[in-house]
């Protein structure tokens, strides 16, 4: 296996420093369908989704578990992460979810590798049985909620166009009644006031750590600018909530990037994206959000029936996405916010004409937002000098690689 060519012909991260790692994270699509019809959803922009089985097939599940165990043994992994996703993952039958989790427990027992599990859900289908399953099997849920009903119900609607806030809130309350504190993921509505969202999540729901994401969009969509929204979000957070320990992941990522630290988010920041997605038919694909590029855009020739998990890195579609994440356009490389922005989310760089060879569709907005945050935090910053070191060189010494010889570096 080789990743030669990564970074060879374009400016970007040094090819030697962005070798494809051993996968320790898989996004497992339990369902390809959803029970609601959010207006901004990226998933159904690719009609190929409808050709996939509605839920993960028994055969694909079996093959995945087999491949997972082989992968764990091959690379002697001590830890692995699975996030169950959809569509709406809770459309997957409960008895099958339990059977799958039992299989994962058995793999853990046989290999000694800890398999962490998360699930991202709209929470509408959550009942006491689901909460018991989460509790019993250590599945950490994240709930998608966009704010109070007047904001949430504008865009997160069912197939009849009705708002879904009440049902989501009911699911959220059931989780919390069972002692499960879920994560919250909100999508920004640029037409709304983020102060309202912050007040709702923090003061009404009592949640202090969450994320607010920009709406998924690609070039050609002409999405509304998000600078006013995120500038206001930062100001309200900084002036009112920061001292109370409230944390918004995307703001964290920008603050860390501006202060010279490495990225902590796919949304914004410099760094490679190496997500593997298991589809309901057993296909292995790149980062699911790239489906925003259109029909068949993430389709690969790899599947758990024919390939090892690690083999997907040789697939042109997967490799193309990985390369794109570390190959930035010239305009980004010359930007003062390069290391804080990293070109934004990979999916938001897509255009039909130039594929990923663009800055983010939100480039102008991110520049304004990052400029504003810099202006506000700069007077508080304290300069420290220390011996320089390339972290990647440390990686080489610490990590297992896919060829099992030179950690983190591949030929």
């Amino acid at each position: 296996m080789t990743t030669s060519g990564v970074g060879e012909s374009h400016a970007g991260l040094d090819s030697a420093s962005v070798d494809v790692p051993v996968f320790v994270f898989v996004l497992v699509k339990l369902a390809s369908r959803c029970n609601i019809d959010c207006t901004y959803c990226y998933w159904f922009r690719d009609a190929e989704v409808y050709k996939k089985p509605p839920v993960l097939t028994v055969e694909a599940e079996e093959a995945f578990c087999k491949r997972l165990e082989e992968h764990i043994r091959r690379f002697e992994l001590e830890a692995f992460m699975i996030v169950f996703h959809g569509g709406e993952p809770l459309l997957f039958p409960k008895h099958r979810f339990i059977a799958l989790l039992d299989k994962l427990n058995a793999i853990e027992k046989r290999t000694g590798c800890v398999i962490e599990r998360g699930v991202t859900t709209n929470a509408m289908l959550i009942d006491r049985e689901w909460t018991q399953i989460f509790e019993t099997y250590g599945v950490s849920p994240s709930v998608s909620i966009d704010g109070p009903a007047e904001i949430h119900d504008q865009l997160r609607v069912d197939f009849k166009g009705k708002g879904t806030h009440a049902a989501t809130l009911r699911g959220l309350e059931l989780l919390r009644a069972a002692g499960i504190e879920p994560g919250i993921i909100s999508v920004a509505n640029p037409a709304s006031d983020p102060a309202q969202l912050l007040a709702y999540i923090v003061d009404e729901l009592g949640i202090k750590e969450f994320d607010i994401l920009p709406p998924d969009a690609r070039h050609g969509d002409n999405p509304p600018p998000i600078d006013r929204y995120f500038i206001r979000l930062f100001d309200v957070w900084y002036d009112t909530y920061a001292a109370r320990g409230v944390r918004v992941s995307t703001l964290d990522a920008m603050i860390r990037g501006l202060s010279g630290r490495l990225s902590i988010s796919d949304t914004i920041g410099l760094g490679p994206i190496d997500t593997v997605t298991l589809m309901t038919d057993g296909a292995l694909e790149p980062l699911d959000v790239l489906r925003i590029a259109g029909d068949g855009s993430t389709a690969t020739q790899s599947s758990v029936f024919a390939n090892q998990l690690q083999d997907v890195q040789e697939d042109p579609h997967w490799l193309g996405a990985f390369k794109a994440s570390v190959t930035l356009p010239e305009v980004c490389l010359k930007c003062e916010f390069l290391d804080a922005c990293g070109g934004g989310h990979l999916a938001q760089r897509w255009s039909a004409e130039r594929q990923f060879d663009n800055p983010s569709v939100y480039c102008a907005s991110w520049k304004a937002v990052l400029g504003h945050i810099w202006k506000r935090i700069a007077p508080t910053l304290v300069v420290e000098l220390e011996p320089s070191r390339l972290l990647i060189s440390n990686l080489d010494r610490e990590l297992p690689s896919t060829n099992g010889t030179s950690p983190g570096r591949r030929g």
């Binding site: 420093s17 790692p21 320790v24 994270f25 830890a79 992460m81 996030v83 800890v114 962490e116 998360g118 991202t120 950490s140 849920p141 994240s142 504190e181 879920p182 994560g183 919250i184 993921i185 750590e209 001292a243 320990g245 992941s249 603050i255 860390r256 202060s259 010279g260 630290r261 990225s263 902590i264 988010s265 796919d266 949304t267 920041g269 760094g271 490679p272 997500t275 490389l333 003062e336 390069l338 290391d339 804080a340 400029g371 202006k375 935090i377 700069a378 007077p379 508080t380 910053l381 304290v382 300069v383 420290e384 011996p387 320089s388 390339l390 972290l391 440390n394 990686l395 610490e398 990590l399």
Partner: protein, 123 residues
């Protein structure tokens, strides 16, 4: 004639004063750091080709904050629960690349801390 140490301290103070004045743009700040021969930012850390970062300087500028909330964010993953030890840098980088970014994005919740600790210790 000032020693190298004194000269470096003087340069550090100059940069600090410029930051405090709140008048320096990020471009101005980066240019200033570069002119003084120091490195700064993820582009330098990761060795971004085309971003004047291939040749890493001997000394890097780190920024912390006098604001406790900002400082906690800036340093959180660098010093998880005060357990940072010499030689752990590679482990932190491993975390970034393999878990933190994805899980942070996908599921921001209390569970991630448990996850973080677990993986951090294992690696």
């Amino acid at each position: 004639m000032a020693s190298d140490n004194e000269k470096t301290q003087e340069q550090q103070k100059q940069i600090q004063d410029e930051l405090k004045s709140a008048s320096v743009s990020r471009r101005g700040f980066i240019d200033r750091i570069k002119a003084l021969g120091f490195g700064f930012g993820a582009a330098v850390t990761l060795g971004v080709d085309g971003a004047d970062a291939r040749e890493a300087p001997d000394t890097s500028v780190n920024l912390n904050s006098t604001n406790p909330a900002l400082n906690a964010i800036i340093n959180e993953a660098d010093k998880p629960e005060g357990q940072k030890k010499p030689g752990d840098e590679g482990i932190q980088m491993a975390w970034y690349r393999r878990f933190f970014r994805r899980f942070y994005r996908r599921g921001w919740h209390g569970g991630y801390r448990r996850f973080f600790r677990r993986f951090y210790r294992r690696w």
